[in-house]
Symmetry: none
DNA sequence: AATGAATGAGAGTTCATTCAT
DNA sequence: AATGAATGAACTCTCATTCAT
């Protein structure tokens, strides 16, 4: 028992090692520079070894994507405890950007890169990726019910807010270096305040 | 004199030919499908010839980037004739997204892709890419002066609006397929209306 | 004693299991599709286990070859009961081709493929493969004694008949698809009749 | 003119060099051991270079096959000058086997190996490979007309003769080493005599 | 007795690039 | 000015095999 448990643990560690290094490579060198050989070099195993843990390159990629979406969802959940719908919505936006900026690699993978979703074909995967958007819509609904937002097409409102935070996130990730570091947090926070504030009617 | 002039002109024509076909290729097939051989095939010269006009592949891409920024700037300029600052600002946003959605590969090159900006190091290039942002700030300034927008940190306002339209643009380009086609234009237009409207105070 | 006997028996069973599945694989998918991993999958053991029973892949193939020769010999024996030498010889030829056509992969292994015989170097293996040829010569000898065939160099006669049936067999196996299916059996039967008939003098 | 001619000649020489070495490899190491890299090693060029002259591996293979069929056809044609139909048919058979034995590599490629014909899809290629068989049938027809052979289904007669010589050829090529060298020619010649003689009625 | 883990060698192919002409 | 010829490096992936346990 102890043995098989240890083996399983070791296997999981190896899988994580591969995923970690693959992710780092994604970050550092971009998608098309992640090769099986480079991953192998990083983990200090032979390329063949990787195939013991993953069917092929797309499986690694697919797994990375799932992990990213999970982490992302969790980050969004962390503000759901807030009672006041308006405050919650604002916190939601800030949490979104914060996650993106703190995990630019994950964010890049999920929302910026080429077409990772090409690998996602089973409906389960789709759920993973829309879960967070549903959360946002629920928040907006609550705000409408509480009179914070005017009666508006929820799809439009959700899309607007998503666009805004996604815009902030991608700019920060891809062009952040163009903005003085000291200025970045200020911009993020105030932009969200400014943009959202206008939408609230009380 | 006449001779060297003609030679220079011919040289420029060749450069343009290469850039044109490279761009078409890039637009039609995306970044990773632009290979030196394919460009050569299109211009009906040998791959080697390209190297007589460009140091290497990145130089071509660098040039393409400049062209993209120019086109982008022009697109933005096309609404500058509008007199009313508020209307102009709205039109600005819509033009921005329209350009991005109609020229997804330009937009991708300019604002989404990883590598290309790595090539931009000389200050001249920077100007090219911030020109449009300056235009936006000028528009906002006008709006403030006309009492359409409250007195706000222009950097915050500009960043907010840019984030919003950039967000819309990238979502449409990268994840547009997740949104029913008939719905896309509706979303774009109404999202801009909804988001910007909140910012105006009159 | 009982223990070591059982162990030996179990060992033999394992060997047979491996050979059986390897043969099935070979028959179903052909030589180059027999991989150690596929054999392992079939026997539901790990690839490594196979190496406890066979030195390497060629040893398995060598064994398979012997089995094929045995089966082949048996098929030939099945007509030896026929009394009349002439009829027996004809039946022999037909049985030969029938076996080949019904077991194309065996036949391929024994008489067409390149490598396998490279492994056969010990005289024992040679016997296995010439046994059938000896049978043919005996049949011819009988025919001569019975006045069916003229007095001829038995080596020449045997070689001639073998060539003929081997020729039919290999054509059918390797190029059979070029011949309309309905036509194949007709060709085989009539060709043997036609070719052999000429050799008989009564 | 002289230049382009020389270039063309050099190109052709390179193509021939590649085909020659590829053919030798086929002979020496068998089909599955012919790799692009090995060919490259032999011709002392890089693997990439081969792709300048051939689209891919199958194109090399296809070319080899055509060359073989051409040579083969020529060899058969060399006896067509013989006037007497019977003598011609005998000579035909002997020429067939002689070609096969003298060019075992070609013969292997055409009639023994796996499925080279898989590459042949255009009708032209098929003609190349059946041309020789048509020649045989014409010879048989002549023999019938001249009363040398009884009125028989030409398909059966042709198939019988082809089987016989093909059988001899393949045995000699694949199992020739089992027959004492001094004995081989004797066997070939006498077997053809013995087998064909029976078929003639005058 | 059995195996999970690991690997070196090698497969076909494509790419940007250089060099001699 | 233009190019044909050539290449090294790299790609993903599969195979038979070994070794420690």
């Amino acid at each position: 028992m102890g043995i098989s448990e240890r083996k399983e643990r070791e296997r999981q560690e190896m899988i994580n090692l591969i995923l970690d290094e693959a992710m780092k490579l994604f970050i550092e060198e971009g998608y098309e520079n992640v090769t099986m050989r480079k991953i192998a070099d990083r983990i200090e195993y032979s390329p063949t070894t990787i195939y013991l843990y993953f069917k092929d390159k797309t499986e690694i990629f697919s797994e990375l994507l799932n992990i990213a979406f999970d982490k992302f969802y969790e980050a969004q959940m962390s503000v759901q405890y807030i009672e006041d719908a308006k405050e919650k919505l604002l916190a939601h936006g800030i949490a979104y950007v914060k996650f993106a900026v703190s995990n630019p690699n994950y964010y890049d993978l999920m929302f910026i890169m080429k077409d990772p979703t090409a690998n996602m074909k089973c409906p389960d995967d789709w759920k993973t990726s829309t879960r967070t958007y549903d959360l946002l819509k629920k928040n907006i609904q609550e705000c409408i019910e509480n009179g914070y937002l005017e009666e508006v097409d929820i799809e439009v409102a959700a899309f607007t807010m998503w666009s805004h935070v996604h815009g902030i996130a991608s700019i920060m990730i891809k062009r952040g270096f163009m903005i003085p570091e000291a200025f970045r947090e200020y911009l993020i926070y105030n932009s969200i305040q400014y943009g959202f504030k206008g939408l609230f009617i009380k």
